[in-house]
């Protein structure tokens, strides 16, 4: 069990490309940290730097108090699960799991015991003699996890391990990974681009954007108080409505026509945000004055339990999403009266992109 500390860890490639400027992260013992971000944000690079597969060009990485910057991956006492599993195709499941132990000079009896117990835990008892080719995607995924678990490492590293599975299996494995991690209590660093995966798995989330940690916090913190428009747009599905707006003299104006009263005292250009689920739909009979704005419906997605309505506001080009529970079927082109409660607003400074 281990504490992982990244102190201003950065990566600059030889060609001068600065993939990760500097990341500070303190991972407590047994914590499940998820690195999330769009593709190309440097999340995999950061994980691979912790693994030792990429060099760290600045800053310091310590695992359990030992500086790991220059150590070989095998000497860091970490185990990694890859997106395509990276199982050795010519070895049986047993040998795949035993290989790391063999290389460390563990005696045969111990290997047998460890592999069998991990095999039992993951339900692989029947498959130990098979080759990876003869396994289904989900089984391969389990073997890859077994290979990591067998070594009893200080830190687990997962690099988008569920991306190659179908949707149903992904949900199942997600739950399983969480349970296993709780049971083993191993510090875990997990990379994904899927925000649902990130929200459900993480003790704490790190949202990365262009190599910078935009925000670090628990899933609910990030949902309720996103620090930047980037985090606000990334966390939550469908993502938050973000509109350029202006606050002046106690009025928030969006576009040319929308004016909302506010008790904000500053005068500034802002990014105004509200989550689709926080927009309230007023009955048609309600007077126009009660509505904050009128939405012209352009598309409706009925998902049964909820309905997503896409539309535009008067004088605003950005499409706005409203999420209503239960089935609704407004006509395309019809108008909806919406209310945006000011308690649910998210305001960001337009120039610094920071939360106000």
């Amino acid at each position: 069990m281990a504490e992982v500390i990244l102190k201003e860890v950065g990566k600059t490639y030889p060609n001068g490309f600065n993939a990760i400027p500097a990341v500070d992260l303190h991972i407590a013992d047994g914590e499940f940290i998820v690195l999330v971000g769009p593709s190309g944000c440097g999340k995999s690079t950061l994980l691979r730097m912790v693994a030792g597969l990429e060099s760290i060009t600045s800053g310091e990485l310590t695992i359990n108090g030992t500086v790991m910057n220059k150590k070989e991956p095998a000497d860091r006492d970490i185990a990694m699960v890859f997106q395509n599993y990276a199982l050795y195709p010519h070895m049986t499941v047993f040998n795949n799991m035993a290989y790391g132990l063999k290389n460390r000079g563990v005696d045969k009896a111990t290997i047998l015991k460890k592999v069998n117990s991990v095999g039992d835990m993951l339900g692989l008892e029947e498959l130990l003699d098979r080759k990876p080719k003869q396994l289904s995607g989900g089984q391969r995924q389990r073997v890859a996890m077994g290979r990591a678990m067998v070594r009893d490492p200080q830190v687990f590293l997962f690099d988008e391990p569920l991306s190659n599975l179908d949707a149903k299996l992904r949900v199942q494995m997600r739950v399983e990974i969480r349970q296993l991690q709780r049971k083993l209590g191993t510090t875990t660093l997990y990379v994904t681009h899927d925000q649902v995966e990130a929200m459900t798995l993480a003790d704490r989330l790190v949202v990365l954007n262009k190599g910078n940690a935009e925000q670090i916090g628990t899933p609910l913190e990030l949902y309720e108080r996103p620090a930047t428009p980037f985090v606000a747009a990334f966390i939550g599905s469908p993502s938050m409505n973000l509109l350029d707006a202006k606050v002046a003299d106690g009025v928030l104006s969006i576009g040319a026509n929308i004016r909302l009263a506010t008790d904000l005292s500053f005068n500034k250009n802002v990014v105004w945000g509200i989550r689709p689920e926080h927009l309230e739909c007023l009955p048609e009979s309600a007077p126009n004055e009660d509505a904050d704005f009128i939405l012209t419906v352009q598309a409706v997605e009925s998902l049964g339990a909820e309905t997503l309505i896409y539309g535009t506001l008067e004088g605003v080009e950005t499409i706005v999403v409203v999420r209503l529970s239960g089935p609704h079927s407004p006509e395309l082109g019809s108008q909806m009266k919406l209310k945006a409660p000011s308690a649910k607003w998210h305001l960001f400074d337009a120039s610094t992109q920071q939360r106000l």
Binding site: A79, H90, N103
Partner: protein, 282 residues
């Protein structure tokens, strides 16, 4: 084929049979000729059925000196050919798998230059560089030796290229997983790369064994001692008799023997050969 046209089937079978005849007939004639007296073959009518001198010819060919200035029996030359072919096949595979390993998995200065230099030797087969190569082998006093027979033919770009292509398809994650599992370069080579290249090695072995076995010009050039004569070059020697009749029956029997090992290798390793060229274990 989903089509079901009986005449097409018949026609294609006839064409295939003709092809088989075209290939098999000379071999059949050679086999038949080896069972007749030497005169029978040159009398104008080529016999198409076995004669009664078979045992005699084959016994002579196998166990006594081959004649026409060749003092060693055919089985001895077969051994020479075998040693040379095996040395070439194994030598080429060993060298090219190691060089491909270096080129694909290690980042050293001038890596791609090295690869292209190796690749350029494709344009320099033995026949092109035969004089300088002879000079080198002669300076190293390797004339009339197994090393001299095999060494110049071992350096190979084709095999390196083939291994390189197959190594390039190995996903980077696999290499990284091995690194995390504590496998250094040696372990990775022996535990992972070598077993994964099994079918490739088998396919290459078949090709290279036949290549080595069929070598003619090089052995002809550097061997003057009967003890190092190979079979393929000796057949030519047996035909070029200054005076007197050519012993066609012995020549044909020797030819049959010369064809045998490649056939055994191809038939025996057919499955692995096809697998190595067609699919991969990745």
């Amino acid at each position: 084929m989903i089509e079901n046209r009986p005449w097409l089937t018949v026609l294609s079978h006839i064409i295939l049979l003709l092809g088989v005849c075209a290939v098999a007939l000379p071999i059949w004639i050679a086999l038949v000729a080896s069972t007749h007296t030497p005169e029978a073959f040159v009398q104008g009518v080529i016999p198409l059925w076995f004669g009664d001198h078979g045992a005699e010819t084959w016994g002579k060919v196998l166990f006594s000196a081959a004649g026409n200035g060749v003092d060693v029996p055919v089985w001895f030359m077969m051994m020479n050919s075998l040693i040379m072919a095996l040395a070439i096949a194994f030598g080429k595979i060993a060298i090219s798998i190691i060089s491909a390993y270096a080129i694909v998995f290690f980042r050293f200065p001038m890596r791609s230059l090295c690869f292209w230099i190796i690749f350029m030797t494709l344009m320099l087969p033995v026949e092109v560089r035969i004089m300088p190569t002879y000079q080198v082998i002669s300076d190293l006093s390797l004339l009339n030796s197994y090393t001299g027979l095999a060494l110049p033919l071992i350096a190979s770009a084709t095999a390196t290229f083939l291994f390189r292509q197959s190594f390039l398809t190995i996903p980077g994650e696999l290499v990284e997983a091995a690194r995390i599992d504590g496998a250094g370069p040696w372990r990775f080579f022996f535990d992972i790369l070598l077993p994964m290249s099994r079918t490739n090695i088998a396919a290459l072995f078949v090709i290279l064994f036949i290549y080595g076995w069929n070598q003619y010009l090089w052995p002809l050039l550097i061997t003057t001692d009967d003890a190092y004569f190979t079979l393929v070059m000796s057949i030519k020697r047996m035909v070029s008799v200054a005076d007197g009749a050519i012993e066609w029956n012995s020549v044909m029997a020797t030819t049959m023997l010369a064809m045998l090992p490649p056939v055994i290798v191809v038939v025996g390793m057919q499955k692995l050969f096809v697998k190595g060229l067609v699919d991969s274990e990745k």
